[in-house]
């Protein structure tokens, strides 16, 4: 069996698009419009005080338009600027976009939100205003998801870490690629705080086997696993917006996840592969789309080709 299907090799990579292109790619042709863009020049007031060059969009792009004919706002983080870190401006931009979508949705003008998360979490140069912004983002996601789905896409390569992993955690759906990573504390932070015996941050395979999209999907911590294919990602986002708000959100399933933790034995260090042997985790909670999409469909296509 060939590893890569023709479709896979001819795909358009999502990861290789920059933050603005990623956002634009999700909209119905000609509908995506950037708000508070670089020409508005609202920059971080705190970075220049520290000798750091600010960016005129603060590494956060907000676009409004239609996805599958429905109103949506896409907020895309540029992982190349300050590691996608949440500063005062980028954080307030995301919160404001969510709040405006919420105001419209409350008034019957349903406006879904899609977060393209490439972020290490709080931008340390703006420390307390970044942390405050993350708390506000979480609150605004929870307010909006009562009316419309809030979809988090973690495509890579930066992944989604720190406080923003909570933002992903409270969203309606999480889409990941195998190149995406999701976790609260990154490997370097754990090594720094708890020592190299707790986490060897140079161990690439350990990192991917814990945080990687495949693992998070297998654990039921992501809803859709999809190849790095811009068209497939756009289709999946469109389908999930059409699907609407799930009956229950993952972060409301307290008893399910709490009982999973209670059943575990943490007396010795864990190997990430253990997850597959934990019987309490076998029924992974996912928000299943009506039609099989994403990776499952990709696998089916590959199989047909081989035959």
């Amino acid at each position: 069996m060939s590893v890569f299907s023709r479709e896979y090799l001819q795909r358009r990579s999502f990861i290789e698009l920059d933050a603005r292109q990623r956002a634009q790619y999700l909209f119905d042709a000609g509908t995506g419009r950037e708000l508070a863009g670089p020409f508005d020049r609202i920059e971080s007031p705190w970075l220049p005080l520290q000798g750091v060059t600010p960016q005129s969009d603060d590494g956060c792009i907000v676009m409004r338009g239609a996805i599958g004919g429905r109103q949506a706002v896409v907020i895309s983080f540029n992982g190349a600027f300050q590691g996608g870190g949440i500063g005062e401006v980028s954080g307030a931009k995301l919160t404001a976009a969510l709040d405006l979508a919420c105001r419209d949705s409350e008034q019957g003008k349903q406006t879904s939100a899609v977060l393209l998360l490439e972020t290490g979490g709080v931008r340390l140069q703006e420390a307390n205003l970044g942390l405050a912004a993350v708390a506000e983002i979480i609150s605004s996601i929870i307010a909006l998801r009562r009316y419309v789905p809030v979809i988090s896409v973690i495509a890579g390569p930066v992944g989604c870490f720190g406080g923003m992993s909570l933002a992903a955690g409270v969203s309606s759906y999480i889409i990941m690629t195998p190149e995406g990573r999701l976790g609260l504390n990154g490997p370097e932070v754990i090594e720094e705080e708890s020592g190299v015996e707790e986490f060897d941050a140079s161990d690439r395979s350990l990192i991917w086997s814990i945080y990687g999209g495949q693992q998070r999907y297998d654990q039921g911590l992501a809803d859709v696993l999809i190849n790095d294919d811009a068209d497939q990602i756009a289709t999946t986002v469109r389908d999930l917006i059409a699907k609407g708000v799930p009956a229950i959100h993952r972060s409301e399933q307290v008893d399910l996840y709490r009982s999973r933790i209670a059943a575990l034995d943490p007396s010795t260090q864990w190997d990430p592969g253990l997850v597959h042997s934990w019987s309490s985790w076998s029924a992974a909670f996912r928000q299943p789309p009506d039609e099989p999409i994403g990776r499952d469909q990709g696998a089916a296509t590959k199989k047909e080709e081989d035959e």
Binding site: I42, L49, V89, A92, Q125, N128, I142, S165, L184, V254
Partner: protein
Amino acid sequence: MSKFTGIRGRVWFKALTGQQTPMPGDPPSVLVADALIGSDNARFLCVVPDPDSRFPCARHGEVGLEQAYTLAARIREVMKADNERPTEKNKKRPIIAIVDVKSQAYGRREEIAGIHLAAATSADAYATARFAGHPVITLIAGQAISGGFLTHGYQANRLLAFDDNEVLIHAMHKEAAARITRRSVDQLETLAETVTPLSYDVRDYAKLGLLYKLLHVSNPDAPSTEEISLVRNAVIEAIADARKGPADLRNRFESEDAQTARKASRLIRARLQEQWNQ
């Protein structure tokens, strides 16, 4: 640099509730009790160190998997009960978070088991309670750091903190923040004099416009009866104020201090609103 002792959570939990034992089935590191405050029967929640925690990276006052899920479960319990049995005048019970947390738990086990979701369930529960009309009040008695604070306390309608050198509200402890931003601790401290959000001083934090009030208590490790009643009254006042205001967090953008300190936040909000329907 203030050292984390982790005693204040228990001290203030006991002072305000008269209790200090966990609820049945809960880990020893999470104290939850229902107690009268003013005319309300409120639910108090607090995370304290447990040197014997099953999870080695959550033994010193960190918020880990068990702590986060326990908080979430105990908050949702109150929401459910108040929904099923509406209290007098349909008033939702206040939820009071007493905060003295070193950080989130930094461990491999935690990441494998998805601590980000555990933290999210707790933040979700606090925020959902707030949107459902429960006044959610946070009393920062000691440290409130990073993911620990996001999980436990930062979703409150009103934030109260002690005006005290041991109170530390921040995204990361000073030494680690200095290393990661490639500075010395001295450089970081000098910068923090002009860059308010970098400061580790709660009086500077108060300038950001996020706090409802700073409370003066001479020794928060061992408060006097008068000081306890001062704090109690401040919490009662915060509950009343929260009930009067909107359920979202807009007060953190609109407060008097925020109009100066968060100018850029307010500007970007205004600009987005202008352009939203253009």
